[in-house]
Protein backbone atom coordinates (compact mmCIF):
# COMPACT_ATOMS: atom_id res chain seq x y z
CA UNK A 1 0.00 0.00 0.00
CA UNK A 2 2.97 2.26 0.48
CA UNK A 3 3.48 4.45 -2.53
CA UNK A 4 7.20 5.12 -2.59
CA UNK A 5 7.04 7.61 -5.43
CA UNK A 6 4.61 9.78 -3.49
CA UNK A 7 6.81 9.58 -0.40
CA UNK A 8 9.81 10.82 -2.37
CA UNK A 9 7.87 13.58 -4.15
CA UNK A 10 6.12 14.69 -0.96
CA UNK A 11 9.36 14.93 0.94
CA UNK A 12 11.37 16.72 -1.69
CA UNK A 13 8.79 19.09 -3.10
CA UNK A 14 5.00 18.67 -2.81
CA UNK A 15 4.88 18.62 0.96
CA UNK A 16 8.31 20.09 1.66
CA UNK A 17 8.82 20.53 5.39
CA UNK A 18 9.93 24.15 5.21
CA UNK A 19 8.43 25.54 2.01
CA UNK A 20 5.00 23.87 2.22
CA UNK A 21 4.37 22.88 5.82
CA UNK A 22 6.30 25.81 7.29
CA UNK A 23 7.78 23.56 9.98
CA UNK A 24 11.27 23.75 11.41
CA UNK A 25 11.35 27.52 10.97
CA UNK A 26 13.88 28.04 13.76
CA UNK A 27 16.82 26.17 12.16
CA UNK A 28 15.62 27.22 8.70
CA UNK A 29 16.25 30.84 9.58
CA UNK A 30 18.93 30.67 12.25
CA UNK A 31 21.30 28.30 10.47
CA UNK A 32 21.14 29.57 6.91
CA UNK A 33 23.68 32.40 6.94
CA UNK A 34 25.47 30.47 4.20
CA UNK A 35 24.60 27.66 1.80
CA UNK A 36 27.18 25.42 3.46
CA UNK A 37 25.69 25.94 6.92
CA UNK A 38 22.19 25.23 5.62
CA UNK A 39 23.39 22.08 3.89
CA UNK A 40 25.17 20.83 7.00
CA UNK A 41 22.19 21.45 9.24
CA UNK A 42 19.89 19.73 6.73
CA UNK A 43 22.16 16.70 6.49
CA UNK A 44 22.35 16.21 10.26
CA UNK A 45 18.56 16.59 10.49
CA UNK A 46 18.00 14.05 7.70
CA UNK A 47 20.09 11.42 9.50
CA UNK A 48 18.18 11.95 12.74
CA UNK A 49 14.80 11.92 10.96
CA UNK A 50 15.51 8.71 9.06
CA UNK A 51 16.74 6.92 12.20
CA UNK A 52 13.92 8.07 14.47
CA UNK A 53 11.21 7.37 11.86
CA UNK A 54 12.55 3.84 11.47
CA UNK A 55 12.58 3.27 15.24
CA UNK A 56 9.07 4.65 15.75
CA UNK A 57 7.72 2.47 12.92
CA UNK A 58 9.38 -0.62 14.39
CA UNK A 59 7.91 0.02 17.84
CA UNK A 60 4.63 1.53 16.64
CA UNK A 61 2.40 -1.30 17.88
CA UNK A 62 3.97 -1.12 21.35
CA UNK A 63 3.56 2.63 21.85
CA UNK A 64 0.16 3.53 23.29
CA UNK A 65 -1.66 6.63 22.15
CA UNK A 66 -1.39 8.26 25.60
CA UNK A 67 2.39 8.23 25.89
CA UNK A 68 3.30 8.51 22.21
CA UNK A 69 4.49 12.14 22.33
CA UNK A 70 6.97 11.64 25.22
CA UNK A 71 8.24 8.44 23.55
CA UNK A 72 8.70 10.23 20.21
CA UNK A 73 10.60 13.07 21.87
CA UNK A 74 12.69 10.53 23.75
CA UNK A 75 13.57 8.76 20.51
CA UNK A 76 14.44 11.98 18.65
CA UNK A 77 16.53 13.26 21.58
CA UNK A 78 18.34 9.92 21.91
CA UNK A 79 19.17 9.86 18.19
CA UNK A 80 20.42 13.45 18.33
CA UNK A 81 22.67 12.68 21.30
CA UNK A 82 23.94 9.53 19.58
CA UNK A 83 24.83 11.45 16.41
CA UNK A 84 26.41 14.20 18.50
CA UNK A 85 28.66 11.82 20.45
CA UNK A 86 29.62 9.69 17.46
CA UNK A 87 30.51 12.69 15.31
CA UNK A 88 32.51 14.32 18.08
CA UNK A 89 34.54 11.15 18.53
CA UNK A 90 34.97 9.87 14.99
CA UNK A 91 34.26 12.74 12.58
CA UNK A 92 35.81 15.54 14.55
CA UNK A 93 36.57 17.93 11.67
CA UNK A 94 32.96 17.77 10.54
CA UNK A 95 31.83 18.07 14.14
CA UNK A 96 33.71 21.34 14.58
CA UNK A 97 31.62 22.82 11.77
CA UNK A 98 28.28 21.13 12.48
CA UNK A 99 28.56 20.50 16.22
CA UNK A 100 26.84 23.73 17.04
CA UNK A 101 23.72 22.78 15.08
CA UNK A 102 23.18 19.21 16.18
CA UNK A 103 21.59 19.78 19.60
CA UNK A 104 19.19 22.19 17.86
CA UNK A 105 17.59 19.31 15.97
CA UNK A 106 15.67 18.36 19.12
CA UNK A 107 13.92 21.72 19.04
CA UNK A 108 12.94 21.24 15.40
CA UNK A 109 9.26 20.30 15.16
CA UNK A 110 9.60 18.72 11.72
CA UNK A 111 10.93 15.32 12.94
CA UNK A 112 8.20 15.14 15.59
CA UNK A 113 5.51 16.08 13.06
CA UNK A 114 6.59 13.31 10.68
CA UNK A 115 6.74 10.72 13.47
CA UNK A 116 3.21 11.63 14.52
CA UNK A 117 1.72 12.00 11.04
CA UNK A 118 3.53 9.23 9.19
CA UNK A 119 5.95 6.91 10.97
CA UNK A 120 3.52 6.00 13.77
CA UNK A 121 1.10 4.50 11.21
CA UNK A 122 3.42 2.93 8.64
CA UNK A 123 5.68 -0.12 8.33
CA UNK A 124 9.41 0.49 8.89
CA UNK A 125 10.55 0.83 5.25
CA UNK A 126 8.13 3.55 4.12
CA UNK A 127 8.64 5.33 7.46
CA UNK A 128 12.41 5.25 7.02
CA UNK A 129 12.09 6.59 3.47
CA UNK A 130 9.70 9.31 4.60
CA UNK A 131 12.17 10.42 7.26
CA UNK A 132 15.02 10.32 4.77
CA UNK A 133 13.26 12.25 2.01
CA UNK A 134 11.60 14.75 4.35
CA UNK A 135 15.14 15.32 5.64
CA UNK A 136 16.44 15.65 2.09
CA UNK A 137 13.68 18.17 1.30
CA UNK A 138 14.63 20.05 4.44
CA UNK A 139 18.25 20.04 3.27
CA UNK A 140 17.26 21.39 -0.15
CA UNK A 141 15.17 24.16 1.39
CA UNK A 142 17.90 25.18 3.85
CA UNK A 143 20.62 25.08 1.21
CA UNK A 144 18.42 27.24 -1.03
CA UNK A 145 17.69 29.80 1.68
CA UNK A 146 21.35 29.80 2.66
CA UNK A 147 22.49 30.23 -0.95
CA UNK A 148 20.25 33.26 -1.58
CA UNK A 149 21.25 34.90 1.71
CA UNK A 150 24.93 34.21 1.13
CA UNK A 151 24.98 35.53 -2.43
CA UNK A 152 23.16 38.76 -1.61
CA UNK A 153 24.66 39.22 1.84
CA UNK A 154 28.23 38.18 1.33
CA UNK A 155 28.73 37.84 -2.43
CA UNK A 156 29.90 34.24 -2.10
CA UNK A 157 28.33 30.83 -2.64
CA UNK A 158 29.26 27.65 -0.76
CA UNK A 159 32.07 29.45 1.10
CA UNK A 160 33.91 27.03 3.42
CA UNK A 161 32.28 24.02 1.76
CA UNK A 162 35.68 22.33 1.83
CA UNK A 163 35.68 22.51 5.64
CA UNK A 164 32.43 20.59 5.71
CA UNK A 165 32.79 18.19 2.81
CA UNK A 166 36.52 17.81 2.38
CA UNK A 167 39.22 19.47 0.24
CA UNK A 168 37.74 18.02 -2.98
CA UNK A 169 34.88 20.51 -2.71
CA UNK A 170 37.13 23.57 -2.79
CA UNK A 171 36.04 23.97 -6.43
CA UNK A 172 32.42 24.77 -5.58
CA UNK A 173 33.40 27.72 -3.36
CA UNK A 174 32.48 30.67 -5.52
CA UNK A 175 32.57 34.43 -5.37
CA UNK A 176 29.51 35.75 -7.18
CA UNK A 177 29.74 39.45 -6.35
CA UNK A 178 32.91 41.48 -5.74
CA UNK A 179 34.11 41.56 -2.12
CA UNK A 180 32.49 44.11 0.23
CA UNK A 181 29.44 44.68 -1.96
CA UNK A 182 27.09 42.42 -0.01
CA UNK A 183 23.93 43.63 1.68
CA UNK A 184 24.84 42.62 5.21
CA UNK A 185 21.24 42.58 6.38
CA UNK A 186 20.63 39.39 4.43
CA UNK A 187 22.96 37.35 6.62
CA UNK A 188 21.50 38.92 9.74
CA UNK A 189 18.18 37.69 11.20
CA UNK A 190 15.89 39.93 9.06
CA UNK A 191 17.37 38.34 5.93
CA UNK A 192 16.29 34.93 7.21
CA UNK A 193 12.66 36.02 7.40
CA UNK A 194 12.74 37.83 4.07
CA UNK A 195 14.36 35.03 2.08
CA UNK A 196 12.33 32.23 3.68
CA UNK A 197 9.13 34.15 2.92
CA UNK A 198 10.21 34.85 -0.65
CA UNK A 199 11.11 31.22 -1.33
CA UNK A 200 7.73 30.08 0.02
CA UNK A 201 6.11 32.47 -2.46
CA UNK A 202 8.30 31.22 -5.30
CA UNK A 203 7.41 27.61 -4.56
CA UNK A 204 3.68 28.40 -4.49
CA UNK A 205 3.94 30.28 -7.77
CA UNK A 206 5.66 27.32 -9.42
CA UNK A 207 2.98 24.98 -8.06
CA UNK A 208 0.20 27.31 -9.26
CA UNK A 209 1.70 27.53 -12.71
CA UNK A 210 1.86 23.74 -12.82
CA UNK A 211 -1.85 23.70 -12.00
CA UNK A 212 -1.37 22.02 -8.64
CA UNK A 213 -3.65 22.61 -5.74
CA UNK A 214 -2.05 24.71 -3.03
CA UNK A 215 -2.18 22.95 0.28
CA UNK A 216 -2.06 25.60 2.94
CA UNK A 217 -0.16 24.25 5.88
CA UNK A 218 0.20 20.89 4.17
CA UNK A 219 -2.18 17.97 3.87
CA UNK A 220 -0.54 16.01 6.67
CA UNK A 221 -0.18 18.80 9.16
CA UNK A 222 -0.42 17.89 12.81
CA UNK A 223 -3.19 19.09 15.03
Amino acid sequence: MADYKTIVKDGLWDNNGVLSMLLGMCPAMAMTTSATNGFGMGLATAVVMAASSLLVAVFRSRITQEVRIPVFILIVAAMVTLVDLAMNAWMHELYKVLGLFIPLIVSNCLPLARLEAFAAKQPPLPAFLDGLFMGAGFTIALTGIGAVREIIGNGTLFADASLLLGPAFKAIEMRILPADTGVLMMVLPPGGFLVTGLLVVVKRMIDLRAGKEIQMGGAHSVA
Binding site: V67, L74, I75, A78, L85, A89
Partner: protein, 211 residues
Protein backbone atom coordinates in the same frame (compact mmCIF):
# COMPACT_ATOMS: atom_id res chain seq x y z
CA UNK B 1 -5.84 8.78 14.35
CA UNK B 2 -7.98 6.54 16.53
CA UNK B 3 -8.42 8.72 19.58
CA UNK B 4 -12.02 7.53 19.98
CA UNK B 5 -10.93 3.87 20.12
CA UNK B 6 -8.47 4.61 22.86
CA UNK B 7 -10.99 6.60 24.85
CA UNK B 8 -13.55 3.79 24.79
CA UNK B 9 -10.86 1.25 25.65
CA UNK B 10 -9.93 3.34 28.67
CA UNK B 11 -13.56 3.27 29.79
CA UNK B 12 -13.96 -0.46 29.61
CA UNK B 13 -10.70 -1.34 31.35
CA UNK B 14 -9.64 1.47 33.71
CA UNK B 15 -6.98 -0.51 35.67
CA UNK B 16 -4.84 -0.80 32.52
CA UNK B 17 -3.66 2.80 32.69
CA UNK B 18 -0.49 1.64 34.46
CA UNK B 19 0.57 0.06 31.18
CA UNK B 20 1.38 3.51 29.76
CA UNK B 21 3.77 4.20 32.60
CA UNK B 22 5.41 0.81 32.03
CA UNK B 23 5.82 1.47 28.30
CA UNK B 24 7.29 4.92 28.88
CA UNK B 25 9.57 3.51 31.57
CA UNK B 26 10.81 0.70 29.35
CA UNK B 27 11.58 3.11 26.51
CA UNK B 28 13.43 5.44 28.86
CA UNK B 29 15.43 2.54 30.25
CA UNK B 30 16.24 1.16 26.82
CA UNK B 31 17.37 4.45 25.30
CA UNK B 32 19.13 5.44 28.50
CA UNK B 33 21.14 2.23 28.24
CA UNK B 34 21.88 2.86 24.56
CA UNK B 35 23.18 6.35 25.38
CA UNK B 36 25.25 5.07 28.29
CA UNK B 37 26.91 2.51 26.03
CA UNK B 38 27.60 5.12 23.33
CA UNK B 39 29.05 7.45 25.94
CA UNK B 40 31.39 4.68 27.14
CA UNK B 41 32.48 3.94 23.58
CA UNK B 42 33.18 7.57 22.70
CA UNK B 43 34.41 9.15 25.92
CA UNK B 44 38.10 8.43 25.34
CA UNK B 45 38.10 9.51 21.70
CA UNK B 46 36.25 12.72 22.56
CA UNK B 47 38.77 13.57 25.30
CA UNK B 48 41.63 12.91 22.87
CA UNK B 49 40.05 15.17 20.23
CA UNK B 50 39.55 17.95 22.80
CA UNK B 51 43.24 17.71 23.70
CA UNK B 52 44.19 17.86 19.99
CA UNK B 53 42.07 20.99 19.60
CA UNK B 54 43.75 22.68 22.54
CA UNK B 55 47.15 21.66 21.19
CA UNK B 56 46.31 23.22 17.83
CA UNK B 57 45.21 26.50 19.32
CA UNK B 58 48.29 26.58 21.55
CA UNK B 59 50.59 25.86 18.62
CA UNK B 60 49.32 29.06 17.00
CA UNK B 61 50.25 31.30 19.91
CA UNK B 62 53.44 29.55 21.05
CA UNK B 63 55.84 29.00 18.15
CA UNK B 64 57.55 25.60 18.06
CA UNK B 65 60.96 27.28 18.21
CA UNK B 66 60.56 28.48 21.79
CA UNK B 67 59.79 25.16 23.47
CA UNK B 68 60.81 21.52 23.61
CA UNK B 69 58.08 20.36 26.02
CA UNK B 70 54.35 19.83 25.52
CA UNK B 71 52.59 22.94 26.87
CA UNK B 72 49.17 21.25 26.80
CA UNK B 73 50.09 19.02 29.72
CA UNK B 74 52.41 21.47 31.52
CA UNK B 75 49.85 23.64 33.29
CA UNK B 76 49.34 25.57 36.51
CA UNK B 77 46.13 27.04 37.90
CA UNK B 78 46.10 30.74 38.77
CA UNK B 79 43.42 33.23 39.76
CA UNK B 80 43.24 36.65 38.14
CA UNK B 81 42.46 39.92 39.92
CA UNK B 82 38.71 39.17 39.81
CA UNK B 83 39.05 35.76 41.40
CA UNK B 84 38.56 33.93 38.09
CA UNK B 85 40.42 30.64 37.56
CA UNK B 86 42.92 30.69 34.72
CA UNK B 87 44.73 27.66 33.33
CA UNK B 88 48.23 28.67 32.30
CA UNK B 89 50.05 26.54 29.71
CA UNK B 90 53.83 26.73 30.03
CA UNK B 91 56.39 26.46 27.25
CA UNK B 92 59.88 25.40 28.33
CA UNK B 93 63.21 24.98 26.70
CA UNK B 94 65.71 22.85 28.64
CA UNK B 95 63.48 23.16 31.73
CA UNK B 96 63.42 26.97 31.72
CA UNK B 97 60.10 28.75 31.11
CA UNK B 98 60.31 30.53 27.76
CA UNK B 99 56.68 31.52 27.47
CA UNK B 100 53.18 31.05 28.81
CA UNK B 101 49.76 30.93 27.18
CA UNK B 102 46.32 31.42 28.66
CA UNK B 103 42.77 32.23 27.71
CA UNK B 104 41.54 35.81 27.81
CA UNK B 105 38.02 37.17 27.44
CA UNK B 106 36.72 40.34 25.86
CA UNK B 107 33.26 41.85 25.56
CA UNK B 108 32.24 41.79 21.92
CA UNK B 109 29.21 43.10 20.07
CA UNK B 110 27.39 39.80 20.59
CA UNK B 111 28.60 38.39 23.85
CA UNK B 112 31.95 37.19 25.03
CA UNK B 113 34.97 36.78 22.76
CA UNK B 114 37.31 34.01 23.90
CA UNK B 115 40.92 34.31 22.85
CA UNK B 116 44.14 32.40 23.51
CA UNK B 117 47.25 34.48 23.97
CA UNK B 118 50.90 33.56 24.28
CA UNK B 119 53.49 35.73 26.05
CA UNK B 120 57.24 35.14 26.21
CA UNK B 121 59.17 35.34 29.47
CA UNK B 122 59.93 39.03 28.83
CA UNK B 123 56.25 39.92 28.58
CA UNK B 124 56.26 40.26 24.78
CA UNK B 125 53.27 38.86 22.86
CA UNK B 126 54.01 35.66 20.96
CA UNK B 127 50.58 35.67 19.38
CA UNK B 128 46.83 36.01 19.92
CA UNK B 129 44.04 33.97 18.30
CA UNK B 130 40.28 33.98 18.84
CA UNK B 131 38.93 30.64 20.08
CA UNK B 132 35.22 31.38 20.01
CA UNK B 133 33.05 34.41 19.32
CA UNK B 134 29.58 35.31 18.02
CA UNK B 135 30.49 38.55 16.23
CA UNK B 136 28.65 39.69 13.11
CA UNK B 137 29.74 37.74 10.02
CA UNK B 138 31.38 40.09 7.53
CA UNK B 139 32.06 42.78 10.15
CA UNK B 140 33.32 41.67 13.52
CA UNK B 141 34.62 38.28 12.40
CA UNK B 142 37.67 39.91 10.80
CA UNK B 143 39.42 39.13 14.08
CA UNK B 144 39.72 35.54 12.78
CA UNK B 145 43.04 34.88 11.14
CA UNK B 146 41.45 33.26 8.10
CA UNK B 147 39.37 36.38 7.45
CA UNK B 148 41.99 39.06 7.95
CA UNK B 149 45.46 39.69 9.34
CA UNK B 150 44.36 42.28 11.90
CA UNK B 151 45.02 39.92 14.82
CA UNK B 152 48.60 39.29 13.64
CA UNK B 153 49.47 42.93 14.32
CA UNK B 154 49.77 42.25 18.05
CA UNK B 155 52.65 39.81 17.81
CA UNK B 156 55.80 41.30 19.37
CA UNK B 157 53.97 44.05 21.27
CA UNK B 158 54.07 44.40 25.04
CA UNK B 159 52.68 46.56 27.81
CA UNK B 160 55.36 49.22 27.21
CA UNK B 161 55.08 49.10 23.42
CA UNK B 162 52.83 50.94 22.87
CA UNK B 163 52.55 52.69 26.24
CA UNK B 164 49.54 51.60 28.34
CA UNK B 165 47.46 54.72 27.53
CA UNK B 166 47.72 53.86 23.83
CA UNK B 167 46.46 50.27 24.24
CA UNK B 168 43.09 51.25 22.75
CA UNK B 169 41.44 51.42 19.34
CA UNK B 170 42.04 54.63 17.38
CA UNK B 171 38.50 55.85 18.00
CA UNK B 172 39.26 55.88 21.75
CA UNK B 173 42.56 57.70 21.23
CA UNK B 174 44.71 54.62 20.99
CA UNK B 175 47.04 52.87 18.61
CA UNK B 176 44.94 50.14 16.97
CA UNK B 177 42.73 50.26 13.89
CA UNK B 178 39.06 49.44 14.24
CA UNK B 179 37.25 47.86 11.27
CA UNK B 180 34.98 49.78 8.94
CA UNK B 181 31.56 49.50 10.57
CA UNK B 182 32.77 47.62 13.64
CA UNK B 183 34.38 49.29 16.63
CA UNK B 184 33.01 47.27 19.51
CA UNK B 185 34.67 44.00 18.45
CA UNK B 186 38.23 45.40 18.12
CA UNK B 187 37.72 47.42 21.29
CA UNK B 188 36.82 44.23 23.17
CA UNK B 189 39.80 42.34 21.74
CA UNK B 190 42.31 45.13 22.45
CA UNK B 191 40.94 45.45 25.99
CA UNK B 192 41.22 41.71 26.54
CA UNK B 193 44.83 41.60 25.30
CA UNK B 194 45.76 44.54 27.48
CA UNK B 195 44.13 42.80 30.45
CA UNK B 196 46.09 39.66 29.63
CA UNK B 197 49.35 41.58 29.55
CA UNK B 198 48.52 43.23 32.86
CA UNK B 199 47.84 39.80 34.33
CA UNK B 200 51.30 38.72 33.16
CA UNK B 201 52.93 41.84 34.62
CA UNK B 202 51.21 41.35 37.97
CA UNK B 203 52.10 37.66 38.21
CA UNK B 204 55.37 37.58 36.34
CA UNK B 205 57.40 35.97 39.11
CA UNK B 206 54.95 33.12 39.58
CA UNK B 207 54.39 32.61 35.86
CA UNK B 208 58.05 32.31 34.90
CA UNK B 209 59.21 30.34 37.94
CA UNK B 210 60.41 26.95 36.68
CA UNK B 211 59.19 24.61 39.38
Amino acid sequence: MNASDTVSAAHTSPPRTYIHAVILGVFCLGFGLLLAITDRLTVEDIAARALDDRQNSLAQVIPDSVHDNNPVTDTIQMTDGHGKEITVYRARKAGKITGVAYEIHGNGYAGEIKLMMGVDSEGKLLGVRPLAHKETPGLGDKIEVKKGDWILRFTGLSLGNPVPERWKVKKDGGEFDQFAGATITPRGVVGAIRGGLEFFAANRAKLTEAN
